[in-house]
Subunit: 331 residues, 4 copies
């Protein structure tokens, strides 16, 4: 019998993970919970699963693992409850916007020896994964500099911005994790420059929308991140890693290889503009990796600690922006 | 209730189509037949279907459509049987290697008003489909010249070659269909030049492995096809269409966007080297299109007649090679 | 003292070659002749050369080599005169539109042991030259198939078409030479399909403007050529050579590497649309190669014989189009 | 009569500029001076110029403009002398490594109303120039973020490093100027992170070799620069400018468009690895622009002030690295 999942949170991302479970050999979606019954029912119906309450899922004997895809402020409580109930846990990022809350949550998970994976899906993108594989294989020698370009197609509504924790905790957090993943060494300092150039509503909400960040490691490796809340040409997601022996890069992913040439030039389509389409394969690989690690008894990666690290980088970046200086990152 | 399928032939390509049915909303695999029970059982088990005999599937009330993926020499008989049994029919290409047999088979299908699609999967490749969509949208004006590059990664075993019908009927047949699909007008003449350069065993089997073909239409449009049974860099599948207003092309599809640069230069991986991996999406789209056309009561495309046309082009190409001249294609 | 040149013909291409001489170390333009004095004067002034008559240049003691860039119908006579005068000769392609005339002219040149280079400039394009160098170095193993895409940006005036000798003798002749250059073996047969799709005036002048040709060699190598008199996206000049070990290709050359991405997609400029801009470097390299071969006493390449070969291929292509069959090329 | 040049300094870069003058219509090299007579003679001979002393050139009536390509520590004195002598001045970057010295020098130039251009050649690279032209044309809307990747193929000798002024004054200074050029607004703050990763000898000489810098303007625009003293794949020179309406970028320039595909993948050559080859066209355009501005009576760009600005950015970057904080740039 395969691994049986309960889904907590039947929103957009919950739907994605439910499909990923359905597409993973040796995994099965058993139950779905959501405050909005219709949402839970829709997913349950698609995958021949049941609608249950959160508590019922947590306590169910026929469920091995939970997928936490509720709003962020419920993540930490749910992780703790699931850990205590002996479930394996996959939780969307971030664990919480408060570092203290995350630390306490991880203490519980650790005490319960819970298997916990945090949803930094980009690590599982076939392109970025392959970049990391090349690094590990020694193809570029020693990593020296990482460059991440990460731009959303269009700014989120101001209401979202207000409760998002700000650009660094909400969006850059993926890039912080990717930087650590590619550097192969934890960043120990961060510098952030940022502006409100894209949407005045974001500035009015006290946030920035355009940023450039520099991270350094103890051994002197450097990562730079370029963020924007808007890219007219689509969802811009690229990485480059420069090493002592060479450079490895992953370009943007395109829907087709079609190009049209005429009197106006050579033209390819804009990029995919939706993160779920861009990272479809990453979401599928992520759940497969979760199942595989669990079956093999291997430690989870990215772990809860990786989630904490990325949040600590975000905290330090916020401070750097305020104080206009390098801020040390203490883990 | 969705469309219920019976699969006739549980080999490699049958497995692909079974998975495509399973992944298509509103479609369901009910039964599988194969001369080798184990093969049928394997697919049946994966998709919660039953193993039945061919006749049982043909006569089943709970089956709406059959997928014919048996060896080629059984295709025509099965199409006729299925047509008489009132099933909708999806048949792998080619219908038969004999033009006469194909004509008789299509007569039966027509008499029974059977819905019949032939598996020219490349029409459903997202890239090639988009090329055609651009043409239809008028982006390049009038089509003037089509260029198809189609090379297999490595030659088939000589035993396969012997019963394949030869390069033009076995491999180029896909390109003949693609040429007609992109020209938007049936080719009326063909010229073929070909050699045995890749593998002496192919020559010993009386076949060629490297070819260049030119097709023309009544209005003067031209298509050229470049074939090889071997491409060291992978499965090379490209098209270009040159029109009065511009050029539209589809480049090869790659597994990742990763590139490594070092003292030896900039290097990307070889192409995918397996047709099933290269055309995964095409196979899925093909079944979805079959289901959609059937539900909508729309004519099938590619139809049985399209299958016949491609075979007639292949016949003419064989004659052209023998007689070293242009051969008219009479439909 | 360097090599001293006399230029015969001060038109557009004469201007290009005069500049190439000026830019070549060890070469110097001494005199210019043209039926239109102003044209000769303009070039002479730019390069501190003198205006002289054709005969004066032919008989001059201070001139080592002549560049023949007059209208085509004067080429053969001038080659003969220059050969008899003991000059080294660079002549623009074609030597003549009549095979007989070319043969007689080459007889004279041979008898006089004249050094004679024919202006197939594309062999000297840095990209195409490098493709050939890779082939020679064995990078792709045995050459099997050559693909040449060669399209002009826009059709010539009908008046030009009338006296051009037709598409194959005028435009494809470059591709015939390139095919032989890349195949490394003389083509022994040609097949041509062609239509009048671009400009009715070309058809009215008895010519075609869109063509696909297939050449084969004795050992079974195949070359295909795609021609059009119009490409809305610029001067399309690409080659691909497929061999037993791999593929080597040269893409179009672009004015800049600039790309713009916005809501309409990713866009690069159209190609250069003028042959002199596209092949600037080729024209310079060509003269340098001429000087170098002369100084080293090496045979000229492309030679007068190469000029004849390409013309013979064109003749055979004309016949193939008329007779709708493969035509043998006899050298 | 054209513009007559005197060249002061007959080293490597002097040779480049002498050739650029020779290739510029309406410009002529009249005299060359160098402490090493042989060096001066070599250039003089190539261009039919005379060897003279520095003072003779400065005071010559037949010289309109001087090219200062001596070692850096002589630049400022020579600018002043030339300005007082009424010559137009083209000076290689930097004017001096001391900000004070530069300021005094510019005071003299200003007082003498001398035309002074500083050799930030990259502004004249056809690709980067075109990027700027697109920005000016409004193609990408408001500039928001500039990304510059600038990496040398291999580290300079430690002896050079010692007297170079350090990475920021020696190498990044080009990128500072490019950032200002593309931002269209002077940077007001800089942050620099840097390490010694490439060559321990550089660290021993007190310098860094790998750096990431962030510049911001008053209106909130951001530029990031990635530098390394070594790139195994060649001289890496790329820019990207992200704006409110789109992105414009210039990729690296390659020697050819040749690509080889085989079982190891698709491979293009490494980049050009020598700055003079990479920027040949930029050096030519630069001198042409100098002559053109002088003839038209237009202000010089890049001006002496632009030279000062870039140096001030470098100074601030040095301070930022030392103090680990953002440093304001005061002009």
């Amino acid at each position: 019998m395969g691994m049986r999942f309960g889904l907590l949170g039947a929103g957009r991302i919950g739907t994605v993970h439910a499909a990923a479970v359905a597409g993973t050999a040796g995994a099965e979606l058993v139950a779905v919970a959501d405050a909005i019954p219709k949402a839970a029912e829709a997913i349950a119906k698609s995958h021949a699963a049941e609608v249950r309450s959160v508590d019922a899922i947590m306590n169910a004997k026929d469920i091995d693992a939970v997928l936490i895809t509720t709003p962020t402020d419920m993540h930490a409580d749910m992780i703790e409850q699931a850990a205590r109930a002996g479930k394996a846990i996959f939780c969307e990022k971030p664990i919480d916007l408060s570092v203290d809350r995350v630390r306490r949550c991880l203490d519980v998970a650790r005490a319960e020896r819970a298997a916990l994976m945090v949803g930094f899906n980009r690590r599982f993108d076939p392109n970025f994964k392959e970049v990391r594989a090349r690094i590990t294989a020694g193809v570029i020698g020693e990593v020296e500099m990482v460059s991440i370009t990460s731009r959303d197609p269009s700014p989120p509504p101001a209401t979202y911005v207000a409760r998002s924790g700000g650009l660094f905790r909400d969006m850059t957090i993926h890039d912080f994790d990717m930087a650590a993943f590619l550097l192969g060494e934890d960043p120990v300092s961060v510098f952030a420059a940022a502006s409100n150039l894209v949407d005045p509503a974001i500035g009015a909400a006290g946030d920035v929308d355009s940023a450039s960040l520099v991270l350094t490691t103890k051994s002197g490796k450097i990562a730079q991140i370029s963020n924007s809340r808007r890219a007219t040409y689509g969802y811009d997601q690229r990485i480059e890693v420069h090493g002592s022996k060479g450079l490895v890069s992953a370009e943007n992913v395109r829907a087709t290889t079609v190009e049209v040439a005429d009197a106006n030039g050579y033209r390819r389509d804009p990029l995919l503009s939706f993160f779920m389409t861009r990272y479809t394969q990453a979401y599928a690989n992520e759940i497969a990796a979760f199942v595989e690690a669990l079956n093999a008894g291997r430690p989870m990666a990215p772990s809860g600690e990786d989630g904490l690290k990325a949040l600590l980088m975000a905290e330090a970046a916020v401070k750097s922006l305020q104080e206009r200086r390098v801020v040390e990152i203490v883990y």
